[in-house]
């Protein structure tokens, strides 16, 4: 069993609260120690840049939140907003660490700065449609012209389950970080197959397209 502490950085933001289920599941179904950082205030965001240095390099870090190809967002509440919390080369705060960044276009962010910022290994995600307004930010908005709110909710549930079950595998089966990445891909593919087996002969489905984009855009980078 992987029993090293897992650090989850999850800035306060109602629109990403659905990811709480991942943390809760791991807390309830494994014995691994979870250090949950639900950053909210300006001070907490500032302190985080100091606190990150106290995390051991062999402990896993997960970031849950919004992001772009050049930054990770912090809290987005009525009290405090940090749309650009970790920007460009500030990714260096994860130097020599293993990080999964569950945020939109973290694959592009990592591709741009992984090497310069000297991360040990990282998993990044492509654009993930978790709100209807995000369709317009997609590289190919026409691909999702037929998407409904129900599809988006199903996709969010899929993201949560894929990540939490893969994380459980990582912990319980002592997987390496790269094997964790492989497991994520395998579980996404399994969802795609199950979806089309359950709803055959209906052509491409919005959820299927979102899952396909997710698996195609998922990346794993490792320091050489």
């Amino acid at each position: 069993m992987n029993n090293k502490k897992i650090h989850i950085i999850h800035p306060k933001d109602k629109s990403t609260d659905f990811l709480n289920s991942i943390t809760e599941y791991i807390k309830n179904n494994t014995s691994v120690e979870i250090n949950l950082l639900r950053l909210h205030t300006k001070e907490e965001h500032s302190q985080f840049f100091e606190l990150i240095h106290s995390i051991n390099n062999d402990e896993l870090i997960l970031f849950f939140g919004h992001g772009t190809s050049s930054c990770l967002s912090g809290a987005m509440t009525n009290e405090f907003e940090a749309p650009e919390f970790i920007t460009e080369k500030q990714l260096k705060i994860f130097e020599n660490k293993n990080v999964m960044i569950l945020s939109c276009r973290s694959n592009q962010y990592l591709k741009s700065y992984f090497k310069d910022c000297n991360l040990n290994s990282a998993i990044g995600f492509p654009n993930l449609i978790t709100e209807h307004s995000e369709i317009e930010h997609h590289d190919d908005p026409e691909r999702f012209g037929d998407i409904s709110l129900e599809d988006i909710e199903l996709f969010k549930t899929a993201i949560v389950e894929i990540v939490m079950f893969s994380l459980e595998d990582y912990i319980q089966n002592s997987l390496s970080f790269q094997q964790f990445f492989n497991r994520l891909k395998l579980r996404i593919n399994k969802r795609i197959i199950n979806l089309y087996n359950k709803v055959p002969n209906k052509g491409k489905l919005p959820l299927g397209k979102m899952l396909n984009d997710m698996v195609d855009g998922l990346i794993y980078l490792k320091k050489i």
Binding site: E161, F165, E168, D169, K185, L186, R187, N189, K190, R191, I192, I193, N194, L195, Y196, N197, P200, N201, G203, K204, L205, G208, K209, N212, V215
Partner: protein
């Protein structure tokens, strides 16, 4: 699935076929041989009665009549089809490019007169000082993209070895499975080549289409995820 070998010659191939089939069995795979007799004495039905020359359209007709749309893994042709200054193995193989079911098969040439052929090519340059003429002959061989040009004596053993290598190629397994059910299509799990039949996808793979590597990778990934037992799924 047996590998399909098209053998082109103007003389009886019974012994060759038996040897190839036995050698491949010993190696643990099956080769099915399809003889195509072209040129006199055994392939006189593709020879024009008036001119006495091999007619390519007649060869195509015969191939279609005998073997329909069978897709071959390998074609081995004799170089010398008993026709002076006419159709030889090079011309037969290059003309087969127009036939869908054989155009992507790997190719071999063989001859009992291999040394004479090479000497003849060189003679064009040595005796006539015609470099372009000699080089043109060699270039026609290069353009054919053959796997090998073999001596007739070793042809059976070499063909079996070549087929063994073809079998080792991952593509061949996928192609074989696709061509077993050429009429089917994939569901949208695999978005690449959406709507194409298995046969059409096989053609894309054979043509080294830019998406073909991604398709094969995705196909294997989906198959593994489908069969692999995953807790909670």
């Amino acid at each position: 699935m047996a590998k399909k070998l098209l053998l082109i010659d103007n003389e009886d191939l019974t012994e060759t076929i038996t040897t190839i089939e036995n050698l491949s069995k010993v190696k643990g795979f099956e080769v099915k041989c399809y003889p195509l007799y072209v040129g006199l004495p055994d392939g006189n039905d593709v020879v024009d009665e008036k001119t006495g020359k091999i007619k390519i359209p007649l060869v195509f007709e015969k191939l279609k009549r005998l073997y329909g749309n069978t897709r071959f893994n390998l074609i081995a042709s004799d170089f010398n089809l008993n026709e002076e200054d006419g159709i030889d193995g090079i011309k037969i193989l290059s003309s087969l490019d127009s036939q869908v079911n054989v155009k992507n098969a790997k190719r071999i040439l063989y001859s009992s007169q291999l040394i004479d052929i090479v000497e003849d090519y060189l003679k064009i340059y040595k005796d006539d000082n015609n470099f372009d003429g000699a080089w043109g002959k060699f270039k026609s061989l290069i353009r054919l993209n053959i796997l090998d040009f073999l001596l007739r004596d070793d042809v059976e053993k070499n063909i079996v070895e070549k087929i063994e290598k073809i079998i080792e190629q991952e593509d061949d397994f996928i192609l074989g499975e696709l061509l077993n059910n050429p009429d089917l299509t994939f569901n949208p799990s695999i978005e690449i080549y959406e709507g194409l039949t298995f046969a059409e996808i096989a053609d894309k793979i054979l043509a080294n289409d830019s998406q073909s590597v991604k398709f094969k990778k995705k196909l294997i990934q989906l198959a593994i995820s489908n069969i692999g037992y995953l807790k909670n799924e």
